[in-house]
Each structure stands twice: as structure tokens, then as C-alpha cells.
Amino acid sequence: MLSKVFETSVNYLQVLDENGKLDPSTAPKDLDDKKVIDMYKLMCFARSLDAKVLSLQRQGRAVTYAPLIGQEGEQIGSAYAMRKQDFFVPNFRQHGVYLARNFPIDTFALYWKGFEEGGIIPKDSHAFPVIVPVATQIPHAVGVAFAQKYKNTNAAVVTYVGDGGTSEGDFYEGMNFAGALGLHVIFVIENNQWAISVPRTQQTAAKTLAQKAVAAGIDCMQVDGNDAIAVYKAVSDAINNPEKKPMVIECLTYRMSLHTTADDPTKYRPDSAVEAWKPKDPILRVRKYLQDKGAWDDAKQSAMEDEQSKIISAAVEKSEQFKPDPKSMFQNVYSFMPDVLKEEFDDAVANNFWQG
């Protein structure tokens, strides 16, 4: 006997196409102009902040930086869907999500200037610090979700992983835990098509990254990641799901710039590949949509840009006042100061090692 015991499929969602045309049949029911304008402003804000940190890095005023440009749609769409009580567990390219969660920009800038003080998270941001080793934060998101269930807080957890990160063991383990323990984690896959130099097509033989959820027994879908409204809908539905089920949402987007400032993409991808994605820009299409409706114009645009640029400049200026105190390295290793560590600290102070 041979019988079929399992079958599955993966849906793809787009609401706003690259010409700014909205599909009313898939549009979120709670969508109004205010929400679209909010998301639009946040996307523009994220892009300006990204450009600012990149320029600081180029001037030697920030450390190695991972640019966001091109991915504002999936980050703002998903972050905007999060409720105040929900938690956000990032990797290292979550600038847009941090911004949308009202994370202080001067603290964000401190991280990219190379200081642990950039990891001080205001409690009401419901966020966690930047995590660098790929996909290793995913089991943390699962643990945070377990704590929400245990404490009955009605908070969901949203975590992010790149296309490359879906190859890591921690990604599979995290999904499987969430499925097995029935936890409300939303795994947003930011499929920007490149893991440094390795294209998505070489990363896995799987047709979609979303389908990796199937083996863990959890729901999944694919979304146009450059369509903030579609991402908003997908994440919002997953967050507001009364069954509080885990979900994998693969956002198709594109890394328009560098992996990080240490990277040289001309080694492995032609400029024409990037050009092809320019018309699909996540910001452009929302502006077209809003302008077609008469809800946005050039005057509003320039007023917004002025305001955002002032906020960014003030925050960067504040971050540049920061002076690192080496004592803080010793004070934050344990909940107490062991004698051996105190001896190392005293020795450094007595001998002025830090002036050398």
C-alpha cells in the first residue's frame, strides 16, 4: 500500500504592487491613511538614519556597519504590526524595527560607535540588544515566548533571521521548540537574497524558505517584503491569532547595498542585479499610493525630511559626547566584583595602563 499522508503548500501575499496599486481583496481590514502615512514616515526615517550611520562609518566615526537600505518595507511593516506588549528579538540589521519601537536613536548610534552602552534597552521598548552570531538569538525568542505564556502576559514575540540564517541549526531548533511547546513566536525571515556573497539559490535546495516551517509543524507564508502593507497584514494576523500559534513569515526583499561596510559586492554580483530591484523599492510604491490618493505631496515630504534630519543630527551629536569609562567593563561582568577581577582593575588604575 502506498498512500499520501501529508501535503502542504505555501501562499504568497502582495497587497500594494510596485506601481502603488492596492489590491482591496487582500488589504488589511483595519488599514487607513493614517496607518499608511505612519509607516511611510518610519520607512523614510529608517532610510535617512541608515544613510547617516553609513556616512559616519565612512568618516571613521562608527564601526563596521550593516546597511538596511532596501529592506525598510519588511522591517517597518512587521514592527508596525507589533503591539506595545509584544517583544522584539533582533539580529544585527534591525535598525528599522528598533526605530519603530521608539528605541532612542542616540543609544542606537552608540552601538554603532562600538560601545556596550548602545545595548542599554529602555524597558518599554520590549526589545533586546543586537545579536551578531547568525540565528543564535532565535532560541532566546522562544524562551521569551515561553515566559509570556507562563506569566500569561498576552504578548507575542517577533524575531528576525536572514536567508543565510535559515541554514543554521539554531533556526531549526527554535522553530521546532516553538511548535512543540506551542509558543507565540513569529519568525520573520528577511530573505534579501544574499548571505554576504552567497546567493539565496545556493543557500538551500528548498524552493521557499517559508516551507522550512513545515517540518516543525508550524504555519508559514511568503510575503512581498518590499510591500510594507502586506508585511503589516501578515504579521498583524499572526500576532492577533486567537490561538497564539507560532508562524514563519518569509519576506522577499533585496539587499540593495553592502552586507557590511567591510564588504565589496563587486566581487560577486553585477550592478545590473541591483538595478533590477530599484523599481520595486518599498518606499517609492507607498509614496505613489499616497500621492495618487491625494494624501501626500512634495511639501509634506520636505517638511518630514527636515524634521527627521534634525532629530537624527541631534541624536548623533548626543552620542558623540559619550566618553567610555574603562571601569564599566569591570563592573558589568558579574553581579559582584570577584577579588581577582578587582586586582586586575586596581593594577590597571595604579599603573595608568589605559593612558598607554
Binding site: T64, V132, V134, A195, I196, V198, K267, Y268, P324, L341
Partner: protein, 322 residues
């Protein structure tokens, strides 16, 4: 002889090894088309093809474990892990398997492979890009741990490592990749593993060091104009105990310098061996200089973390004053 920095001498070594033995394969994240994020494998994909220079999926345990399987089945893999901090994702494969296949099969199976990774800091990189993990890999036993401090040694040690029938953890100090050039032969040569290099001779004290600290120590000793034996270990495991004990007995004053954090570092092992075998030849207590005993900080603080010239200089003064 050609002037090479460490990146080009390592690249040259890999090229010679691949030409010599068709069983040598490279694998890792971005080692192919990109030529590695530091360009150590640059040009090798074009020369040897995608069957031998493999751009893997992003998974360090997968890279380490797959390399072990390749080695068990008769290949000689040289995997690259992009940064030492990410190698901990493959730690289980190295500690639980690469180190033990030989002993668990009484040498009927072996794991001939060289796993390469950039180590140590000083170049303002993000978290997990600056770790000095040599002690972890040395502690288990069964893994050879090598760390060159110059382009000539880097090439010769890598060739020797790939000619052995053992798993070798090959640690490449990021800061030294392009810091200076040296005359390096273009032909194949080996630098012995398990043998330290005496990089300076003197009689007042002995400084035992390796990796990023070698050029710093040399510089301090030259500026202070002090007569010192400087020993560059080159291999962390197995230690060149003979060289260590010989210099300790000769000068009677020993300073050990490494970038890794002080507590439970390689310096502790070296000091213990000297205490056991040369105690009565010492004129002063053994001294160690290392980074503070906590994880490598963010780049904005690294200047306060890595041992600097002043710290080494004061340690020398203290040692000579006893």
C-alpha cells in the same frame, strides 16, 4: 623570494597544497567567489573549481562536521570559519569528534583536516570578531593548535599542518594579516609544528609569547634596550616545553604575554610547567600579562582591554627589579 603579507603567504600555501594533492578541498562561508572575507582563498575557485572550493550554506557546525566526514573518508579538507567567535557554533564537532575519532578507533580512523579561522582583536570589529580562543581548543587534547605571527611562519605552518594526519586548529591573527610584509619563498616549505621560534636572544629575562603580541613584545624590548630571550611559541598545543624550560633556566626571569584573557589562559599552563620543572633556577616569580578576565569588549573599549606596550614594559621593569 617574494614580499608577502600574511594573507598572500597563506593564499600561496593553499594554492601549493591544492596543486600537490587533489584530495585537498576548501569549504566555508564566502570562500569561493568572494575569496573569503579577508581574501585568503582569493582566486582559488577559478583555479580549482567549485568541487574543490565550496561556498557552503551559512552553518558553522555543518562546516566543521562535514569537514570531519570528508577527512574520515579520505579527503584532506581545509575548512574556513569566518571569525573565531562563530567557530563556537561548530565547537561540539571539534571537541566531541575531531579530537576523538583517532582514540575512539585506536588509530584505525583519523581526521586529517586544518580548520582555519581569524583570531584576536585590535582592528575595531564588532562583537565576536576578536576572540582569542586558543586555550579552549588546546585544553581538550587531540587537536593541534597553531598560531603564526608572521607571513613566513604562516605559510610554512599551514603547509606542515596540511601534511599531517591530525586535526589542526589554525588560528590567524586578523591584526597581522596585512600589518607587514616579509620575504617568503614561492616554493613549498614546512615550518615544524610543536617547535617554538627564538626571535631574540638575551640574558636578563625570557619573554614567552605568540600571535598578535609578538610584534608588540619585540617593539617594547627594542625600545627599552633590554637583553631578553623572546620565544614565539607558534604552536600552542603541543607546547614546545623544551624551549620554555631551557630559556627559563637560562635567564631565571620569565614573563608570559598573550592577548587572550589572563585567567585560565595558555599562560597558566606555561607558568605551571616552568614551576614544575625549573622552579629552583628562577630568580623571580613567573609573571603573566594578558587581557582582563572577561569576554572581549565592544570595539570602543578594546584599547582598554588588549595588553599594550606600557603594560608589558611595566611588567618587564617589575620582573627585573626583583
Amino acid at each position: 623570494m617574494v614580499q608577502m603579507n600574511m594573507v598572500s603567504s597563506l593564499n600561496n600555501a593553499l594554492d601549493l597544497l591544492m596543486k600537490e594533492d587533489p584530495n585537498v578541498v576548501l569549504l566555508g562561508e564566502d570562500v569561493g567567489k568572494d575569496g573569503g572575507v579577508f581574501r585568503v582563498t582569493d582566486g582559488l575557485l577559478d583555479k580549482y573549481g567549485a568541487d574543490r572550493v565550496i561556498d557552503t550554506p551559512l552553518a558553522e557546525s555543518g562546516i566543521a562536521g562535514t569537514a570531519i566526514g570528508m577527512a574520515l573518508a579520505g579527503l584532506h579538507p581545509i575548512p574556513e570559519i569566518q571569525f573565531a567567535g562563530f567557530m563556537f557554533l561548530g565547537f561540539s564537532q571539534l571537541i566531541n569528534h575531531a579530537s576523538r575519532y583517532r582514540s575512539r578507533t585506536r588509530s584505525t580512523l583519523k581526521v586529517p583536516m586544518v580548520i582555519r579561522t581569524p583570531v584576536s582583536g585590535g582592528v575595531r570589529t564588532l562583537e565576536h570578531h576578536s576572540d582569542s580562543p586558543e586555550a579552549y581548543y588546546s585544553h581538550i587534547g587531540g587537536l593541534i593548535v597553531v598560531e603564526p605571527s608572521n607571513p613566513y611562519d604562516a605559510k610554512g605552518l599551514l603547509i606542515k599542518a596540511a601534511h599531517m594526519q591530525d586535526p589542526v586548529v589554525f588560528l590567524e591573527p586578523t591584526k597581522l594579516y596585512r600589518l607587514f610584509k616579509q620575504d617568503v619563498p614561492e616554493s613549498m616549505y614546512e615550518v615544524e609544528i610543536g617547535k617554538a621560534a627564538q626571535v631574540a636572544e638575551g640574558d636578563k629575562l625570557s619573554i614567552i609569547t605568540y600571535g598578535t603580541m609578538v610584534p608588540v613584545v619585540k617593539d617594547v624590548v627594542a625600545k627599552k634596550n633590554v637583553s631578553a630571550d623572546i620565544i614565539d611559541l607558534r604552536t600552542i598545543n603541543p607546547l614546545d616545553e623544551k624551549a620554555i624550560i631551557t630559556t627559563a633556566k637560562k635567564t631565571g626571569r620569565v614573563l608570559i604575554v598573550h592577548e587572550a584573557s589572563l585567567s585560565f589562559g595558555a599562560g597558566a599552563e606555561i607558568a605551571a610547567r616552568i614551576a614544575e620543572k625549573a622552579m629552583f633556577d628562577l630568580e623571580a616569580p613567573i609573571m603573566r600579562v594578558g587581557s582582563a578576565s572577561f569576554p572581549y569588549p565592544f570595539p570602543g573599549y578594546e584599547q582598554f582591554y588588549i595588553p599594550n606596550a606600557l603594560k608589558i614594559s611595566k611588567a618587564i621593569d617589575k620582573l627585573l627589579s626583583v
